[in-house]
Symmetry: D2
Subunit: 288 residues, 4 copies
């Protein structure tokens, strides 16, 4: 059997009920799709079922449209929200940045080496500093400066660019602007932010200073979906690092960058590999 190529991915979510796993797997077996990997979770609290299947079609007559149609009818019975992705699909990702480049540099490196199987057609920034880095990677760079007066207009420009580039995921890689509620709403569910603290601890500005002030022994970073509620969106990934009394806020900032970039990378990768489901104010993440 040919199971070594990049697989297809099917994800689904529905109310908990008898036969949910079977709903997905019986279809796969009948359609001669070899299951490479399967994850599911049945949340007792929200009474919701989540499943993710990686599969390799074995039937030479395999047809995506037919699957869409057949499985779609099947899924309706279970009230499933579902998605299918072909191996050829590479999500289009836009990165928003300001001046810090540690997260951007990391994402670009992993993009360049294939660890992140995505397209990055555009980088948008409210500063011009990172233009050269973007250009070395051959990526369009748009400098959209911002002032209090131009905030709404600038966000409108961003929205236009996202549409123009057909963006499917927005990554706020230390984009140091508070988005308007309207912008948050526009990005709901398809934008990931990195915050430099173990949320919900140390929300808001200068979290490393707050952490130092409290004398904590661990600092961290949080990657979460953007929602209306600042720093409160569903958490996708977190990272931690132990710290001692000898580190000042500036040291925490420096050390924290390594956690931030890995945490953001993990969240982006999980998202583009369709491993993340929003479950109310929380997430389900099928890690690897």
């Amino acid at each position: 059997m040919n199971t070594n190529n990049k697989p297809w991915i099917l994800t689904a979510k529905c109310p908990s009920q008898l036969g949910t796993v079977d709903a997905a797997t019986r279809y796969m077996a009948n359609a001669k799709n070899y299951i490479n990997e399967i994850h599911s979770f049945d949340d007792k609290e929200s009474q919701t079922f989540f499943i993710r299947v990686e599969f390799s079609p074995q039937d030479p007559a395999f047809d995506q449209d037919k699957l869409q149609l057949d499985f779609g009818q099947h899924a309706k019975k279970f009230e499933m929200e579902w998605q299918l992705r072909s191996p050829q699909c590479r999500p289009k990702v836009a990165i928003l940045v300001s001046k810090y480049d540690h997260c951007l540099n990391d994402l670009l490196y992993r993009h360049r080496t294939g660890q992140l199987d995505i397209d990055i057609p555009v980088i948008i920034s409210n500063h011009g500093d990172l233009r050269e880095l973007a250009q070395w990677h051959g990526i369009d760079f748009h400098h959209l400066p911002i002032t209090k007066a131009t905030k709404v207009a600038q966000e409108a420009d961003i929205v236009s660019l996202l549409a123009k580039y057909k963006i499917e995921l927005v990554v706020l890689a230390r984009y140091m602007q508070i988005l308007t509620p309207a912008m948050c709403q526009h990005l709901d569910g398809w934008a990931i932010n990195i915050h430099h603290s173990l949320l919900p601890g140390f929300k808001g500005a200068k979290p490393y200073h707050q952490a130092w002030d409290k004398g904590v022994k661990f600092v961290g970073a949080t990657a979460h979906y953007v929602t209306n509620d600042l720093d409160e969106g569903p958490i996708i990934a977190q990272g931690v690092h132990s710290v001692g009394h000898e580190l000042y806020p500036a040291d925490l900032i420096a050390k924290g960058q390594d956690i931030e970039r890995v945490t953001l990378f993990n969240a982006v990768r999980y998202h583009v590999e369709m491993r993340v489901f929003i479950n109310g104010s929380r997430t389900v993440v099928f890690g690897d």
Copy 2:
């Protein structure tokens, strides 16, 4: 639906082929067994499929014998080795120790508080030191001293005790004796040993001294199944701890005890929860 009680567990292993997941889940759906949790893995290298299902019967007429019979026939088609465990089942575990008590104390504590859902009818030791600890927990203690001359006889006594107490799992909790090949063979697949190093590094005696001598920055512990090959059985769990230049071998030994006991506990728990499959010289572990 009643899915909150302790669930039933079904595990299976078979050659990789189309429809393996479906083989388990379709049966479950047809039999009205609600799947609480499912894990599977398809090993591309050994071409072997592994699955573990936690389920709660919804059919008031649920009958274990019928399931055994029905699923057994179904499983035969896929050449499945499979096991079923009822919620009432509590595996009988024997613990072998010498003088170190950190692992024993930990297992007994977790047994007493219900973290380990097992019966421990007997503790066997080549020394008498830990009798009092065993007795405080109300567990039979057998002191079977050993000399070079009596090794085979002593092991025969152990084998008798394991049979008498109907033991299903043997835990070598820092039992400081090298078992004979015959004894290893007897215990193959149902005995777990804890070794105080990150195997395969630092096999044999005094691993913390070896680690110190090499100046390593991490030490660890390894829980593995007992096989004929000393310290080479399939690894179930490992734990690590960072160490610095200021620690001498005695310090490593002291610090290592915390890793050993947690690592052994994890391995025992994974085993008794049927989360571990032997996959050649390796294991598949469906963690939680």
Copy 3:
């Protein structure tokens, strides 16, 4: 040179100034005290200097009173607060508990095996459940029940017991009572509490439920000195554990116990080894 026995310990704290390290080490060299280990920290923010010295006297005529007198005069010039401890000294520790026994069990185990070089003359509880465990370890157990009406009187009884047993450190090992401000003040600086969250996150009741509700990917525990400000005292040690979506609050509670007990043990050990200094609302901890 004889440097292998348990060493003497000198700690000191004073305003930052030129010559602070020399103030301690020159005295040591002149007095023929061999320094086994030395740690110091000069806090640029609070402008405070901290030092801890482990030493082994080499002079056969070594005399503790003379050191007290000589170093005391020397230290006065630097406005040092300082402490000296002889190798014979074993701090007297009282443990307060309610019904949870995971921290108590751990502390008693480490006490019994010598990892914690302390005396535990008494265990005090507002419940009677853990009497048997205390008694097996040969430790006095006092059951002091508490109601809203008797809280002040019960705390007075605790204070009396602490005095009677000449207690030097109080450990709140999951003692599930909120102390009165008067009691907090009485214990200021010599009582350690374990809180089951990564403070300052999830203060107050049911922190694991709070953590689950927020969907965090790490939970933790915090050991801190008791102060008037509930859950706000200087943090001595913290521990973390990664968690996934599949864990419910009850699972977090169970997993958290392993972090709590290790974190509390570390804090107690650091304290009794004189490795901890209070530095305003923060601590300086000279780990090993």
Copy 4:
């Protein structure tokens, strides 16, 4: 007092004896050098003392040559090997690479952002692939191809380049060539290599394949000084990552790159900050 600028660093190593700490600190106090940070270790096994002092001169008439002379005479009495570094000094580092760029990319990024306070005048490779990356960072790139026949000549060319660029530290950032004994000897004590396993486990080729084959639950990386003994030089830093059964060798290689680059960075930083001492076949590392 002015203690905020980049400090001077003094390190020393000598046979254990009474007064070693005082030897350094009394001099500092007398010379009006404010000690910002001090670390020392007295190795009971090798009977060797190590010390590292960060200090800020307070005397306007501070003179480096005078310190060299005065402290030098002082140090002679203790048979100290010692080194002094001024805040202006930036060590010159050469990086050797082949085709893998994850370590190189990381070092260059940290160099560019100032996390690594070094000069990198030259990158040398046996392949031409990474020329563009070097050039974007404005660093000379020398492509020195190698065959069995030309190995000795190629190494001679490397030696010439190291001399020409006045290199003080050589970093083998996944340089996939086994150095000749003569080259190892030439680099003894001033070259750091990254090996992609937790040495001494999995020495030699394809360590991730070895690790996978053994079914270990942790993989890691080791940064060590180059010595004649392949993969056996004193270990400076190690990193680990937990792995599960679902990862194949190719996955371990991919995941391992993150550990490799952080581990190598840590080792290089420790070295250039004069935090590392060779102690026989081991190291003393004064971390931060």
